[in-house]
């Protein structure tokens, strides 16, 4: 079951990746635009897609743009700002129905690419700069999103733990940047940032659906008006070592449940030869319901509803997360540290190893059925400079030996223990 490969091409500064397939009822389109993370620019860059989404030269009014998307059989348009290693990556997504399934008079792929090209390269302007009212409005939206991180305590605890781990680096910041920066941004300065960003960003355009590279190349040439130059590139990030002793950070909020996040570091990253072993390590530790964290923290000790670990292969970071009764903090931390020790000793069964590989195989195989996951996987590999397909990575995962996992486990160091807890005890102290 070899998956069809992406056909690669180029149109000016945009790298093109097209996967011709009749498997789906849609065309999935993603444009990635990445720049190195910069303390000074992060908030401005984050704001760009929000303003671009408000209007284009042909549809300067937001409502008209959205009505246009509706009339394209509900073309789904979205954008997102994220971090990939030491890059800030803006992602635009368009999902449109293949015309075959609807009685449409206009070819929807052509319309979709034309619209995406216009959103990116021909925004609505007034007096040669961004529309001030859109900039002001989207500043408020970004501020609200930054504020709202605290609403979801699981996400908030993860964000805080990362902040502590990456003190002094731009990576500590959320991809949307800093609320304090927003005040200093106006339509003129943001438009300047945008024009610089267009000149510098690395652009990758993906299309998955019933089409081909030649067709997409032709459509893109007419639709995107980018400055000339060679395509931009991504530099892999350099992982840091964990300190000899982990830092412990405790924070208090009005919560019922405590959130324990533990940040781990490893020098092994996505493009390295030990990455397949690291994937298996994370799977055994906390990637699945048969993993050590789920079994020991939840099933055996009954301490939590969720207990898992997640790997960021770009930064060499593993984040453990669990939600516990506040009084059980020491107990939970003790059990988790025991699991890390067990991994270092290579203390896991052949059977657990086999299961973990099967589960990773399931994930790597299943992503072929989802156009956006295929795009996501290919882009992640290319950002990291790892030239593997999902099948090639899977073959390497299958070849991982117990010793490989133990060797990787030796490199994993405990960096930060973050605990979000209630205010109760604090109130008692204050009153005493």
């Amino acid at each position: 079951m070899n998956a069809e490969p992406f056909a690669r091409g180029q149109s000016g500064r945009i790298r093109l990746h097209v996967l011709p397939t009749k498997k789906f009822k849609t065309y999935a389109i993603v444009l990635y635009a990445g720049v190195p993370l910069s303390e000074a620019e992060i908030t401005r860059v984050a704001l760009i897609p929000f303003v671009l989404g408000r209007g284009t030269a042909s549809f300067p009014e937001t409502l008209a743009l959205r009505e246009k998307l509706d009339s394209m059989y509900g073309a789904h348009f979205g954008y997102d700002v994220g971090k990939r290693g030491d890059h800030q990556v803006v992602q635009f997504r368009l999902d449109v129905i293949n015309d075959r399934f609807v009685s449409s008079n206009t070819p929807l792929l052509r319309e979709a690419l034309a619209l995406l090209g216009e959103v990116l390269t021909a925004p609505a302007l007034e007096d040669g700069r961004f529309v001030a009212r859109y900039v002001e409005s989207e500043k408020k939206t970004v501020a609200q999103k930054l504020d709202a991180i605290i609403n979801d305590k699981i996400r908030y605890a993860e964000k805080r733990c990362l902040e502590e781990m990456f003190r002094g680096e731009p990576y500590r910041l959320p991809a949307l940047g800093r609320k304090e920066d927003l005040d200093g941004i106006d339509a003129t300065s943001l438009h300047e940032t945008y024009r610089r960003w267009l000149r510098n960003a690395a652009f990758d355009l993906y299309v998955v659906g019933d089409t081909c590279l030649e067709k997409v190349t032709t459509l893109v040439q007419g639709a995107f008006r980018l400055p000339d130059g060679p395509p931009g590139t991504y530099a892999p990030s350099l992982p840091r070592q964990a300190p000899p002793e982990p830092r412990t950070v405790e924070e208090r909020l009005d919560v019922t449940q405590g959130k324990l996040n533990i940040g781990l570091r490893t020098p092994v990253t996505y493009a390295g030869p030990d990455y397949p072993a690291l994937l298996v390590y994370n799977g055994l530790l906390g990637g699945f319901p048969h993993a050590k964290l789920f079994v020991n923290v939840r099933e055996k000790a009954s301490l939590a509803y969720y207990a898992s670990s997640r790997l960021d292969g770009h930064k060499g970071v593993i984040m453990i997360q669990t939600g516990i009764e506040i009084a059980n903090y020491a107990k939970a931390l003790g059990i988790i540290r025991e699991q890390l020790e067990a991994m270092r000793r290579g203390d896991f069964t052949e059977d657990d190893l086999a299961k973990t590989k099967e589960m990773l195989a399931n994930q790597l195989t299943a992503l072929q059925d989802n156009p956006f996951e295929r795009i996501w996987f290919d882009f992640n590999a290319s950002v990291a400079g790892a030239e593997h397909t999902a099948e090639e990575l899977l073959a390497k995962v299958r070849a991982v030996a117990p010793d490989d996992v133990a060797r990787v486990a030796q490199t994993v160091g405990l960096d930060t223990v973050y605990f979000l807890r209630d205010r109760k005890e604090e109130t008692v102290h204050a009153g005493a």
Binding site: K23, F101, V102, R133, Q257, P289, S302
Partner: protein, 428 residues
């Protein structure tokens, strides 16, 4: 095995009802590597009162269906997740108001995984010790949701809208109700609600339909089932008006969250009529409140709401309601504007061209769903439980009329059927 062709969707559905009453559906997706199977029972958090054949009434504690879902994963020889993992499959389950759904996704060993799925859901194993242990886990799950403002504002609305209907009860129950659950009660509920004739199996993905059906037939032929339990659901005696106009809660949030909801009074609809009403409601709510609506855009431009704002319509046996809202700096003002927009449109009617545009958008969104076997499986069983057919949604959308839409909105917007739920940060 009859095959139903849906040429417009380019899909073919295979269906068979086994002798024991289990409904089996197979949707082959040529070229897909993944197979997704869901086994669903018509027993959810809102099914809590029954009348048995002997006239006795049988009531279950809040959170029982969800507790049962958790406990099904435990077997004498260990955990079900591990058996799926050995076959490279990932398993999960969820409990809704009207159903409990067990599922797996696999890229290999589909026949073996089907056996595991059918076997673990059909063979309960509860002990006093494993039931006690689960209480700790579920209470943590309840605490997790209590800290979640989206969950709180949603259930706050249902508590305000409904007097007695069990849809107002938190799906996981409360620490107290969960503590009262025993293994005897779990066995009893399993016997009543997990009979094959109360369940559907839906398999979608890269499978051969005949082979899949043969696996299921052989699995079921190996098992003996008691005759199905005879019971009927006791409908909640639910008044038409909302219980109270407003609910408020305090939580650590950056900005208030507010939902406005209207309770539907015509809750007896079943089958395609219920589905049709749901689709009408979705078109109207989308026309009024989606990102391409002037009402949303005006509120957004005034920074009254943000892109978390949205509207949805939910229905099931004995309940149906709309929910409109999101983060807002001023809950009172947002609720006023939402209500005013609905009342104004109910009076004047939707524009014909807006109706057409949203209809088209909804058809596109529905077609996109068919890309995702998971989504198709989840929606299929949901529709099936209502007596509807997911495969007919495009045709239904095409047959809807503007008059129907306007008629629905006029009946839906009624001041005494409205409630508002607000979650605020601690002001002190």
């Amino acid at each position: 095995m009859p095959a139903l062709e849906y040429p417009r969707l380019e899909e073919t559905l295979h269906h068979e009802r086994l002798d024991n009453g289990l409904d089996v559906f197979v949707l082959p997706k040529p070229g897909f590597t993944k197979t997704f199977a869901v086994l669903a029972t018509r027993f959810g958090s809102a099914d809590n009162r029954f009348r048995l054949a002997d006239g006795r009434e049988f009531a279950v504690p809040d959170g029982l269906a969800h507790f049962l879902e958790h406990k099904m994963f435990e077997e004498p020889d260990g955990d079900v997740f591990a058996r799926f993992a050995a076959n490279g499959a990932s398993a999960n389950a969820y409990t809704g108001f009207d159903q409990t759904v067990y599922l797996f996704s696999a890229t290999r060993n589909v026949d073996r995984c089907l056996d595991i799925l059918l076997d673990f859901v059909q063979s309960p194993y509860f002990t006093d010790a494993n039931v006690e242990k689960e209480k700790g886990i579920i209470i943590q799950e309840i605490h997790m949701y209590r800290d979640n403002p989206d969950w709180r504002v949603y259930f706050g609305l249902l508590e305000a809208l409904y007097h007695r209907h069990p849809v107002r009860i938190d799906i996981a129950g409360t620490p107290e109700s969960v503590s009262s659950i025993t293994k005897e009660l779990l066995y009893e509920c399993h016997r009543m609600f997990y009979h094959p004739s109360n369940m559907h199996l839906f398999v979608v993905g890269g499978v051969d339909p005949e082979r899949t059906l043969e696996t299921v037939r052989a699995n079921q032929a190996r098992k003996r089932f008691d005759p199905p339990a005879v019971f009927e659901r006791v409908p909640a005696d639910e008044p038409e008006n909302a219980k109270e106009p407003m609910r408020q809660a305090t939580l650590a949030v950056a900005m208030p969250k507010c939902y406005v909801g209207f309770k539907e009074t015509d809750v007896a609809l079943v089958g395609e009529r219920a589905i049709r009403r749901d689709l009408v409601a979705r078109i109207v709510l989308d026309a009024l409140f989606s990102r391409s609506s002037p009402v949303y855009q005006d509120m957004y431009d005034e920074h009254l709401v943000f892109d978390s704002f949205g509207a949805q319509f939910t229905s099931g046996p004995g309940y149906a309601f709309s929910v409109i809202g999101g983060d807002t700096r001023d809950p009172g003002e947002m609720a006023r504007r939402v209500t005013e927009a609905m009342e104004r449109t109910a009076e004047r009617g939707l524009d014909a061209d807006v109706f057409e545009r949203i209809r088209r958008k909804k058809i596109g969104a529905h077609l996109r769903l068919w890309n995702s076997p998971e989504a198709v499986a989840g929606e299929f069983v949901r529709f099936r439980h209502r007596g509807g057919d997911l495969f007919r949604v495009v045709e239904l959308y095409e047959s809807l009329t503007l008059e129907e839409a306007n008629g629905w909105l006029r009946a839906h917007v009624h001041p005494s059927h409205r409630a508002v739920s607000v979650v605020r940060g601690d002001a002190s």
